[in-house]
Symmetry: C2
Subunit: 162 residues, 2 copies
DNA sequence: AACAAGTTATTGACTTTGTCCAGAATATGT
DNA sequence: ACATATTCTGGACAAAGTCAATAACTTGTT
């Protein structure tokens, strides 16, 4: 039933319907904020096998058609999500990379107004809140202030090595 | 004179002072929003040679010490900048990747308040405005709406190939 | 001024994320 | 069922970063 609908949606947007694409859309909606690799794994669980290229291609098409949104937090691979109509934002844990949705703090589409547009034609305002989630705060009792823009998944500077 | 001051700043933050670091700080402040590679080139113009690793390490240290801010727009390498005290944001051209500073539209540090913190301890709100700059709009007369989150520097999906 | 101890820098291999290409497989309209 | 265009596959390739061992510096102390 859901697949039926997805099928329709793809057609309506002039996108050819394939097993891979159906599975990829399913993966994106069932696990929001996943990376391309994670989605590929998910898709493989659904239909046995997909090429990495098919995943990237499809994701690219879906993003173009605005059926999927791509977000790319500092220091981690691109992530993809289903929720695309509303303008919501993201809150990411600096320690574990967990990403959660946050509704727009200001209202409808107001963030779209920069104080000075510098001659640009602005079409989107992307907001990412950075912080540390509760579990990570509990498990790591270093109350020292955390670095301000540390990559989410990969540690950066070589810490005081031997 | 400026170097003198930079020297002091590094020391004050407990960072050892080396020729590479001085040059890297100089590069960051003289060309805002540059990538690590661009900074390396700039540094080489200043002191002859640096290893890529030195650039990454130093940048990492400076970011940790909050002397430099790292921003990572979708589809392009990380970029670094000097302006770190004020909470300003960025406006990036989807077509050419040009990045300009934009003062916070709302005021002081208000963006720091998400509508729901989900138990996170939030320490930064990062805002990126996406659009197309004036020169790019003039040179590319395709009035069709642009895709919503297309990488800044690298085209993504293979466009209708032969 | 010279030393010792600890930080940094260099070099080169390696990983991750993503793209290009050519040929095989599939979807779609008639 | 067919023809044609699109999509998928698989392997090579590229860019951005990271790791690890060794050599070179900084810095505080004598």
């Amino acid at each position: 039933m859901v697949d039926e609908s997805v099928d329709q949606v793809l057609r309506r947007h002039g996108v050819q319907v394939t097993a891979q694409r159906l599975a990829i859309m399913g993966a994106v909606s069932s696990r929001p904020h996943a990376t391309a690799d994670e989605l590929a794994d998910d898709v493989r669980a659904r239909i046995g096998t997909v090429s990495r290229q098919a995943v990237y291609d499809t994701l690219g098409v879906l993003v173009d058609k605005q059926l999927v949104r791509r977000i790319q937090p500092a220091g981690s691979a691109a992530r993809f999500e289903d929720r695309v109509a509303d303008n919501h934002h993201h809150l990411i844990c600096r320690t574990c990379g967990t990403t959660v949705d946050v509704d727009c703090a200001v209202g409808a589409v107001p963030c779209l107004t920069a104080s000075d547009d510098h001659g640009f034609e602005i079409d989107e305002a992307e907001v990412i809140y950075w912080g540390v989630c509760l579990p990570c705060r509990k498990s790591a009792p270093n109350s020292k202030a955390l670095p301000t823009t540390k990559p989410a998944t990969r540690p950066n500077a070589r810490s005081k090595n031997v």
